[in-house]
């Protein structure tokens, strides 16, 4: 028949150090920063009075995307001050997701837990600090733990649930959502790539044409991963915006 063996998972996900303490994931993270910074630096150099083209257009589209589709939809006009934070969050996550489908790199940096968990913790601090700043320490925890409009007796039930969902589950689900989506996509790509390779190189010549099927699936999934990479960056950013808006104005 044909030889198909799924490699150990760490072999797919863990990368050798390029130099000590610096592996492919770190490379992708640094590249994401370098690319975003150079994008905006080049964009800022172009003449702003003319209609934007090329790099400047790209940078302005990203800014307007954050402002129109994320901030205006969740925080309203007051939230426009959050644009730099959400923009860097979005760009960083997107540029960490995209290498999953770029040949040679073929690894989304967010398919490792490190970056998602760090970003989720940052977001956790940001929205809690925002809530404390806007409502005071006790005011914030009162609005979180004792949401208004609930019968007094139900607080026994509601308060622990609210505490767990706001303080514990939110950063966890934020990190896991990003990580698991990208990891699942990466594993799917690996499985179909290995399957088509196994079929194309099968000793039984009858099996070779069948390799077209997983290969077609591989191409389809690569296209799908483009969408998923963007969507996950969008969802992470918009959830951040929703959490910040909820902490700043509890009545919404």
């Amino acid at each position: 028949m044909f030889a198909f063996e799924f490699p150990p998972i760490n072999e797919i996900l863990r990368w050798q150090d390029i130099f000590p303490g610096f592996n492919k994931i770190a490379l992708i993270a640094v590249a994401a920063t370098v690319i975003s910074v150079s994008l905006f630096l080049i964009a800022a150099r172009q003449d702003y009075r003319e209609a934007p083209t090329g790099t400047r257009n790209l940078a302005e589209i990203s800014v307007e995307f954050i402002e129109e589709n994320i901030i205006m939809q969740t925080m309203g006009r007051d939230g426009l001050g959050w644009t730099p934070f959400l923009l860097s969050l979005f760009l960083f996550i997107y540029l960490c997701n995209v290498p999953g489908i770029i040949p040679i790199l073929q690894m989304p940096a967010t398919a490792r837990m490190a970056i998602p968990i760090f970003l989720a913790i940052v977001v956790w601090f940001v929205y809690n600090v925002t809530g404390i700043k806007h409502q005071g320490f006790f005011g914030y925890f009162k609005s979180v733990l004792f949401p208004p409009g609930v019968p007094k007796a139900l607080y026994v039930l509601v308060t622990p649930i609210e505490f767990i969902s706001t303080i514990v589950v939110r950063p966890f689900s934020l990190a896991v959502r990003l990580f698991a989506n990208m990891l699942a996509g990466h594993l799917l790509l690996v499985i179909f790539a290995l399957l088509s390779e196994a079929l194309f190189e099968a000793r039984d010549k009858v099996l070779i044409p069948l390799g077209v099927l997983p290969f077609g699936m591989l191409i389809f999934l690569t296209g799908f991963e483009v969408l998923v990479g963007f969507l996950q960056a969008f969802i992470f950013t918009i959830l951040t915006a929703v959490y910040i808006a909820g902490a700043a104005h509890p009545e919404h």
Partner: protein, 214 residues
């Protein structure tokens, strides 16, 4: 019978497996390993269970990821975003002011058109009054000249009439005298006596008048 198969990649031992003798022949299929540079801790068939949990974050990745994100955020917050946003705002403000300029120019032009039209109407009205006045003066002048000419003509005609009637009267007197003389002479010849001159004259005049009236 079992063999140990070692897979080598880039000088590193990638995996070590037990393979039963049936599947091992001289034409081993190409190993289906991801080409990777990770040196694996080689073990028997349970290689997956060794090594760190795939979910636990790794310290070096965490450090590099955190470092890059913090650098990106600080640069974005302090330099990149304000610079780009300033340009965008300036352009939008420019576009808005251009729009406003265009609107102002449009309304200015409209006001100019209105002013021009009022001026035009004024001028037209003035011209009309002036033309009317000129026509009136012309009319009166013509009327007066016409009247003058008419009066002059009438005077001349009256003069001529007078002269003509004088001449006529003189002619008529001469004729009646001549006729009276002829009638007197004819009466003298016929009756031998001289008729009264005054009666003859009256008869001649009345006869001439009745003839003239006829």
């Amino acid at each position: 019978m079992q063999h140990a198969v070692a897979t080598l990649s880039g000088g590193n031992l990638v995996s070590l497996r037990w393979v039963s003798s049936e599947t091992t022949d001289t034409t081993m299929p190409t190993e289906m390993m991801m080409t990777t540079d990770t040196p694996m801790v080689a073990s028997t068939a349970v290689a997956e269970t060794t090594g760190p949990n795939p979910i636990s974050p790794e310290m070096k990745e965490l450090q590099w990821g955190a470092g890059s994100f913090i650098v990106l955020f600080i640069l974005m917050r302090l330099v990149l975003f304000p610079r780009l946003k300033k340009g965008m705002d300036a352009r939008y403000a420019g576009i808005r002011s251009d729009h406003e300029d265009a609107d102002a120019a449009k309304s200015g032009a409209r006001a100019d058109v209105v002013a021009y039209e009022t001026a035009l109407n004024d001028v037209r009205a003035q011209a009309a009054t002036r033309i009317d006045a000129a026509r009136q003066t012309l009319d009166t002048e013509r009327q007066s000249q016409l009247a003058q000419v008419n009066s002059r003509i009438a005077a001349r005609r009256a003069e001529a009439d007078e002269r003509a009637s004088a001449v006529k009267a003189a002619g008529r007197g001469q004729i009646s005298d001549a006729v009276a003389a002829i009638a007197t002479r004819a009466g003298e010849i016929a009756s031998g006596r001289t008729p009264d001159a005054a009666v003859v004259k009256q008869a001649v005049v009345s006869a001439m008048e009745s003839a003239g009236a006829r």
